[in-house]
Symmetry: C2
Subunit: 431 residues, 2 copies
């Protein structure tokens, strides 16, 4: 990779470059997605069967669309025992981290006769989308389902495209069952999102849809937003590493490549204060590229969106990281905790040289579904919050309302909402 000196100019170009990967730029697919959504809304199951035949080359029917208990049991026989064991260990960590995010209702009553509160309720039914295709990511299944489970969602409906044999990948099924999905349906793409948003004869309408997917899935989720809730719109994966002269170049190189392997739009950026580290990382990358199985993808994503940037100071590196707002941020410096305190924008932050990014993808416990493409400036990792909602509670006694009723009437009348004012006045006709 070329090693670039960080300047205001290079920073601006870099940011613009990265934003080009945004799923918000794919307007040309919107119409095709809308056609799919409308057809599923109208024809329901029939549309799902037709699209699954067209896109997934699989025949499904009202009898086979839902994964059966037998299919789940069969899947268990096909999954490696050692993987199952790791899945169970990871689930324990994921559950324990997410349990700390739980929020509870609160109520606050005052001697003046007022009670205010906030009631926290879990969503009742949610949909989890799991992509199909050659790549199978059981870890994503765990990460999508577990926060809903911890929040107390009663029904967790998963959809995923079947293979041409009409079967769901066994590892996906086992992961879903272990994490606690209540039903799995064999549908993928925009048609699955439509089914979850509007409901069909087979698939019940949900309150919220989460889970990553291709551009059709992302656009479909965006289109149904408001009708149901959705999680953030996922873009290509990213890593940014802040490293000083103490960093181990071999570790840094390996971590950059771990994100670059995701796809050709993935971005891997090193920002370092040390020219020696920059050169050494570059050399290690070359070495790894000779041996890694996905080196063709890695080469392309490094070419497109890979950068090694030299910062004058650690402050400058931190500022750059905050501007880019990377999905994953590794801090490999003498005192990573101090640097972390100055980070405003990042999906997940990894501290020190033994907190490699894949540790977070698979095992540590925090969610690996993270805001991408600069959206860490305003979005959060998928969490228990995503599956909870709140209602405000207001209770005033007669005395408490009486003490302030003129104030409320004044305010309502200033807004010319006289029926609002009237609803207070009727309660104190003698005043």
């Amino acid at each position: 990779m070329k090693i670039e000196r960080l300047t205001a100019e290079s920073r601006k170009n870099l940011l613009e470059d990265l934003l080009k990967r945004s799923p918000n730029q794919y307007g040309q697919y919107e119409e095709r997605v809308q056609v799919i959504l409308n057809r599923v809304k109208e024809e329901k199951d029939q549309a799902l069967f037709a699209y699954t035949e067209q896109f997934d080359h699989a025949k499904i029917t009202a009898e086979t669309i839902k994964v059966t208990e037998e299919e789940i049991q069969e899947a268990y026989t096909q999954v490696d025992e050692s993987l199952l064991e790791v899945v169970r260990k990871a689930l324990k960590n994921i559950e324990s981290y997410h349990a700390k995010q739980m929020q509870y209702s609160w109520f606050d009553s005052k001697p003046n006769g007022t009670m205010l509160g906030q009631k926290v309720t879990a969503l009742q039914r949610v949909g989890v989308y799991v992509p199909g295709g050659k790549a199978v990511y059981p870890s994503s299944v765990l990460m999508n389902i577990m926060p809903a489970k911890v929040a107390g969602v009663e029904e967790i409906i998963m959809t995923t495209p079947p293979g041409p044999d009409g079967k769901v990948n066994p590892t996906t099924l086992v992961a879903a069952h272990e994490a606690g999905a209540t039903a799995v349906y064999k549908v993928g793409g925009a048609q699955a999102i439509a089914a979850l948003a509007y409901g069909t004869e087979s698939i019940p309408k949900v309150d919220k849809i989460v889970g990553p997917g291709n551009i059709y899935v992302a656009l479909a989720k965006k289109a149904v937003y408001g009708h149901v809730s959705i999680d953030s719109i996922a873009g290509p994966s990213e890593i940014l590493v802040i490293a000083d002269e103490t960093a181990n170049p071999r570790f840094v190189a390996a971590d950059l490549l771990s994100q670059a392997e995701h796809d050709e739009l993935a971005s891997a950026i090193l920002v370092t204060t040390s020219e020696d580290v920059a050169n050494a990382v570059n050399k290690e990358i070359e070495g790894f590229l000779k041996v890694l199985s996905r080196s063709e993808i890695i080469k392309k994503s490094l070419e497109n969106y890979g950068h090694i940037l030299l910062a004058e100071t650690l402050e400058e590196a931190i500022e750059t990281a905050n501007e880019i707002a990377s999905e994953h941020l590794e801090i490999v410096t003498k005192d990573p905790y101090q640097v972390m305190m100055k980070i405003r924008n990042a999906g997940a932050i990894f501290l020190g040289e033994y907190s490699s990014e894949p540790l977070g993808d698979y095992f540590a416990g925090p969610n690996h579904i993270l805001p991408t493409n600069g959206t860490a400036k305003f979005f959060s990792p998928l969490s228990v919050d995503d599956f909870l909602k709140k209602s405000s509670i207001i209770a005033y006694s007669k005395e408490a309302l009486e003490a302030v009723h003129k104030d409320i009437e004044t305010f309502a009348e200033a807004e010319q909402l006289t029926a609002h004012a009237n609803s207070i006045k009727v309660r104190f006709p003698e005043d």
Copy 2:
């Protein structure tokens, strides 16, 4: 109003009827909104000036687009002293309620050398949209700005359309200044949303846009979602009252009308177990309609979306309320607290006969920007949460990673992400 017996059939029809008011049904305006968004993205300030002349019949320039300190001071001379006093009292209540919603970073370190955490950060810059037109709602200004302020947002940028004289309504300005807006710009409609989402020479790009608006504003917000964050998409206002035989029909009638006066799409629904209360409320409504200034609007909204429903049991009333998921829910029964515990879906819940809905609109403290049109099933009231975001924190010691490194490698290899596995392996080459 007609008094209807609640049945499965009437409930289904009612729900379908209410959903027709959804802002998601206005596809025909989408193209016009997109034209506005694109033009502002391209021409920036120039487009804002042109649209403001076209839609608001006001001339604004780079010099006058931002409200000046002098304009704010002038506004104070035009606002009634007693209203200002009430605004300040309300603000105190709003601030104190929202302060209870604040969330803080947490970190959890274990003796095994792991530290996991969640860092909470306020958004840096947010946009607040305030509608213009004849109606002026200073209460909305307070409710939009205060949660951002409590969260610790540094820059709170407000936009609102100017009158034909190029001025912003003085009450709006004073409310914005009291609540803590850091800048106010004279732009409205979809063009204001575009300016906040993309930035122009005058108006800085924000991270999130909140605030109600007409259908153009709602569609523009939906279109820029993902590029920035937005709050829920606001639909017409709603109230549902659950009343038993203990309810005061005069109070209930007045409260129903207080929401019906908002606009012709507003919905006011009484669900009662008492036929006497149903009849008495109906009679009181007739009386009020003769004296209320906005009775023409009220009549239309009652005709369109007003209902008096008779429930067999309180349980049935509760179920109906949960299905409708009303923006405002009043519980006027013998034991409103018990009923409240069974409510899953509602924006704000008002308990007992002295907790009239306008108390919440203006004064009590909880936010009056609430999920409408059934979205209380998955959205929450506007809150401090809306202006905070989270980053996960992961730190493992060498020993902690060493103890689990094989597990992570197994998982990564099962997903065929060999560069992920490699990033763990390089750290333990001797194993």
